[in-house]
Amino acid sequence: MLTIKDLAVKFPSRFGDFTAIEDVDMEIKPGEIHGLVGESGAGKSTVGAAVIGLLQSPGYVAKGSLRLGETDLRTLTPEQAHKVRGDRISMIFQDPQTSLNPLMTIEDQLIETIQAHSDVTEAAARQRAVDLLEEIGIKDAATRIKAYPHQFSGGMRQRVVIALAISTDPELIIADEPTTALDVAVQSQVLSLIQRLAKERQISFMLITHDIGVIAQVADRVTVMRKGRVMETGDTAQVLGAPEHPYTQALMDAVPPLDRKLERFRVPEANDASSSLGELAENWLLEGQQQAPTGLSLRNLSVQFSGPRTSLFRKPAPYVALDDVTLDIKPGSIMGLVGESGSGKSTLAKAITGLVTPSSGTMMLGDTALPFGKSRSRLHPSRQLVQMVFQDPYSSLNSRHRIGDILAEPLWFYGFVKDADEREKLAASMLSLVGMQPDAITKYPHQFSGGQRQRIAVARALLARPRFLICDEPTSALDVSIQAEILNLLKDLQNKFGLTILFISHNLAVVRQMADDTAVLRNGKIEEVGETHSVYTAPQAAYTKSLLSLTPVMPTSWAVET
């Protein structure tokens, strides 16, 4: 029913035409969920946009054919193409927060969509809208339809988005990362909704995602893309379970399994030539580490934020971000911290680093108590001993500073190295140690990819000679293959220098690979804490159990043996 042949999309730019995708062939049958998977820059979204005719200006389809049933999508006039949109093809976007018009009620948006494509009265359209909402699982739809988008939670909103997409009975829905912004529980609900719609209404889905687990769970067939080209296509079980293309194989190797721990990921290693250059940095780090590994213990730690003020006379109700958290991180170990968004993971990191002031409890780094928030002086030793690797490598490095300056800053600031040339040398060496070319010090952050930047961020943290490292979702912004490299790097460094690490992630599989112990956080409370293996294999808390069961994974039977 959807047939793509030899598709190429180009973006004319001032540097000549940039080819976004090329030679793309794909076929989607009625009722089929077709996964389109690939890392960033693979061109997955471009395929979707080309099909629905919403390529970002000035992109255009340069070659190939796009057919929906008997209709040649390429020959349509703009008016005809607009008619086809909604009527026969619809789309679901990634972020339910932004894909609904905030100023219109759900009802208005549904009715206008229904009326745009079929000649029905408003009352009929309203009835249909209510029915639709009920069908996709919104209770009390007749009342709630009057609400505005902001009155729905994220998961509900994505349901409304789906209701809008199917309100005109399209043949094909392009779902561009529909669950990426959602927590696992909601993700699982949305995915089963998609499966149900495909089955019951025979709607075809083009499911664009970077998450192999999601594909494995719901897609009938899958197409793997890389750099604008199709690598491999076929039945999901075949492509993921027995990949033929080397790229697919490497990709599958990099996917962290949830059910077991790998010592290392199988990834092409960074060139060894650099490792000798890294000696200087390695020795410098080791010589600064006379002390034994340092642990961290939190006792009854609570953090409250003042909520939004709604009245002049009432004090705003406090919002409890962390509630009585007690946690011990053993010296030299990696503590994994998992939880959904809003569970308080990042707040915990900020409390430890002094960016947030707890309302009660104690924090001990080794034998010294950590003063709270602003009361921690700027020269407190913990400011050097505790370092952090952030989530977003694009914002964690100051884009206006040279890499050399970024790396030398801790050396200068903590007074380790007085001489500027020495600092440069050490910084360059540290780059080698984290697997980068030392000449990077003369460049600026924007000249590097996300993975490279994350290495630089790690190098910066190390140049402070930390004893305690907090990694706050260090790989969630990265592609899986890069994630694998960074995780390997962190493991190596931890081994080498005896660092204590608090590893925060929403990704259960990643934590399983990294952590010695794991704590599960929910609504600011520790649900469960224990040795990682036992938490994963024999979870005690119901919450942990449901998290583990809802996380989409590849069936074990498909797994490529290492």
Binding site: F15, G354, L355, R378, Q391, S396, H401
Partner: protein, 301 residues
């Protein structure tokens, strides 16, 4: 390769934007003329012995009764129009640029601090900004001028004219900088590099000026350009309202004010040539401002 091209993308865009090129040329030409006025100009409007009333009201070279020495004619004092305009542009630019410098330092400083500290400090700064907004540019300038006239001895008022005018314009423009700097700082405060710096225990001043400031320069540069245009227009308007500069130290605005007297008298050049010049200068600066805005707001490209 792409990265390299991207680095010079601004330049690339520039080369392919005829409007920007023309605007830049006009602006640079005027700027150079203003800077080198003492060497380029035929007469010095400040040196009373360099011109004579005898040469007054001569039309531009292409009209009857002109003196080829004065290409664009002379005004009612016998001053060469070109020279007056060059010196006028010089003064306008000096006032505009110094006002902007003061406004930028004050505004960016307060805006950065408000964005960095947030809370009460931010609230106070923003209320002050509100008060300033409630008293728009011309009003502020008129007020400062009025106050200066009320409290400064008449004798030194003349000498302080430029300073008063500059201060007036600066005070009416700082809010733009403060608001922009504050908004941009808020965005940057959530960036992890800032948190990293704070976590390390770096001084607030270092975080603000070494880390945040370079990252918010883009929008500030746009404000700078657009406000330079406003400053020049504001100066002209104040001169029109009769509280600008005295006629013996003419800025572009003062020249236009003087020229207004000749609107109907047939000596059109005294009004229209400086006006044209001012419009050309301001349009050029505005076009450059637009261009910068496009560069710094890639989404609008």
């Amino acid at each position: 390769m792409i990265a390299l091209l991207k680095k010079y993308e601004g330049l690339w865009l520039f080369v392919h934007s005829p409007a920007a090129i023309v605007a830049a040329m006009v602006a640079v030409l005027i700027f150079l003329g203003a800077v080198f006025a003492p060497w380029v100009a035929l007469v010095n409007p400040y040196d009373l012995s360099s011109f004579s009333l005898f040469d007054g009201l001569l039309p531009p070279a292409w009209q009857d009764g002109s003196n080829p020495k004065y290409l664009l004619g002379t005004d009612d004092q016998g001053r060469d129009m070109i020279s007056s305009i060059l010196y006028g542009a010089r003064l306008s630019l000096v006032i505009g640029l110094s006002a902007l410098t003061i406004a930028a330092i004050l505004g960016v400083g307060l805006g950065l601090a408000a964005g960095y500290y947030g809370g009460r400090f931010d609230a106070v700064v923003m209320r002050i900004a509100d008060v300033q907004l409630a008293l728009p540019a011309i009003l502020t300038a008129l007020l400062i001028d009025g106050i200066a006239r009320g409290i400064l001895p008449a004798a030194i008022q003349q000498d302080l004219r430029v300073a008063v005018l500059t201060l007036a314009i600066a005070l009416s423009l700082w809010v733009n900088f403060a608001r922009t700097a504050r908004a941009s700082t808020f965005v940057q405060m959530n960036k992890e590099y800032v948190q990293a710096a704070i976590m390390m225990g770096q001084r607030p001043t270092r975080v603000m000026f070494v880390h945040i400031l370079p990252n918010i320069l883009g929008p500030l540069l746009v404000i700078l350009t657009v406000d330079l245009a406003s400053a020049i227009l504001l100066e002209a308007t104040l001169s029109f309202l009769g509280i600008g500069l005295p006629a013996d130290s003419p800025s572009l605005g003062t020249l236009i004010r003087i020229g207004m007297q000749f609107l109907l008298s047939g000596e059109w050049w005294i009004l229209w040539i400086p006006t044209l010049f001012l419009v050309a200068l301001v349009v050029s600066i505005n076009i450059l401002g637009d261009f910068l805005r496009d560069i710094f707001n890639p989404r609008l490209r």
